[in-house]
Symmetry: C2
Subunit: 279 residues, 2 copies
């Protein structure tokens, strides 16, 4: 019953191979590779997590990024963060941290999980370049209080190849949202990581159970081979490249060209004023 | 930082106790206790699952239902199902089943996962009664393509006590959606079940990790004790009770009074015409 596309490659995947649609119809989605989650002193560590567990996926995502850029395939980055006045942060979420390390509290890289603060930016190794979408989101799922779905529909993107952190929280939530909206999803096994290895494994098992009830999973090497890029360079971005700095969600802190397609103004507008009934 | 409500009970829970808000501000949410998932011949079994694993939660949910009804607390039931013409079913979801047992195919209890078919109704033991909300949904999450959030906001419901099936699929997806929208959630440990025991356990571990990043979890006995109902009767509903028959999402098949607050007409309206760009 799945329609094969003889002109496009099939990626070896579990529980079934993943048929890529035409170029332009699939995107690489990199979830929340932010300093807040990957570097000491950020929100992730403030919750008691060992942030060093997440580092091994950085070179994998670099290779994927280089390949997608070489081929001109769409790339989407997400950032979890909140407006400085916290009007888009549900009280329930605000209460989760410990005293002194809650969302909005001052941290070593600026206010924790606040858009535009240094710690909220994407790590330099994976800095977006002009033409790539950077979507800010106030929750775990990338579809909640954002215009991601609308942007995907407008571009006729139907298939999402997803990596980033953490596997069982923001990555899984986004996969489940995408699945309910009819997007075909592939979770990239070695391009996603969790603070808890058992949760990463369980998430992969859950999403591909029952015939792939949420998504299929594949290794990055099979994806790269399928799109004809087996050995892309993956060195750190040149510091002379203005796009290689950490990206924050305030236009004042990044090159204007980089923000031509940024989604955060609308994302923030959507996320405002939606919790007035919460105690 | 959490505001205590000295007039309302606190439910012993993990990783932290769960403070109930004022009466009327919290609801029991019962996810997808449908014949399609619990009885032989339905969609769940068509995917290769052992449906008998789910039965033990039925008496637990009966006790909770009786208690909430005694106290006059809000109750919400959900049903996963699709319009007979399948216009609300993403092609990706339609392709998941095996030949002959896909959504919409004829089964022993009517067309599989189609609203209004006998197999799509809630099991008789947990039949909704007038005044309870029955929400149909086309996806796994109860907030996607439905008006659940709007209805909760209108009623100023802020806290959700969630049970039903399956733990890692529809229950977890709904919890994650609710959490991103600022609702405080409690997963009822012995009122939810999965076809895969390891996925139930892992889901409970995931949602309450990192300080309860998605939800807290509690045992039904602690909930019942907290609301002052320790030993409600939980016998099977009388067959003389017109509300005790399986509920389907077609008004023609259930007493009109039962459908006074049914959400399915709007739910279906929302779920239509949203996948036109999908191949």
């Amino acid at each position: 019953m799945p329609k094969a596309n003889p002109t496009m490659p099939v990626i070896p995947a579990k529980p079934a191979d993943f048929q890529l649609p035409a170029p332009g119809r699939f995107a690489l989605v990199i979830i929340d590779m932010q300093r807040d989650f990957l570097e000491p002193g950020g929100f992730g560590e403030s919750l008691g997590n060992n942030v060093h567990r997440l580092r091994p996926i950085v070179p994998v995502l670099q290779r994927l990024l280089v390949a997608f850029r070489m081929r001109g395939f769409p790339v989407i980055h997400t950032i979890e963060g909140h407006h400085p006045d916290l009007t888009d942060c549900p009280p329930a979420k605000l209460r989760r941290g410990k005293d002194g390390s809650r969302i909005g509290d001052p941290g070593p890289m600026g206010r924790i999980l606040i858009l535009g603060e240094p710690g909220n930016g994407i790590i330099p190794e994976l800095a977006p370049v002009p033409g790539e979408l950077v979507l800010t989101k106030p929750g775990k799922g990338a579809f909640c209080r954002t215009d991601l779905e609308s942007m995907l529909r407008v571009q006729a993107i139907t298939h999402l190849l997803v990596g980033g952190v953490t596997t069982e929280v923001c990555v899984q939530t986004t996969l489940r949202e995408a699945n309910d909206r009819g997007f075909e999803c592939l979770l990239i096994e070695d391009a996603t990581e969790s603070y808890f290895p058992e949760f990463k494994q369980s998430t992969m098992d859950m999403v591909r159970a029952q015939g792939g009830i949420v998504a299929a999973t594949a290794h990055s090497s099979d994806i790269l081979r399928s799109i004809g890029v087996t050995e892309p360079s993956a060195g750190p971005p040149s510091t002379a490249n203005p796009a290689a700095r950490p990206v924050n969600a305030t236009a004042a802190q990044a090159p204007s060209s980089l923000h031509a397609r940024l989604a955060f103004p609308l994302g923030l507008a959507i996320s405002r004023n939606l919790f007035p009934l919460h105690p």
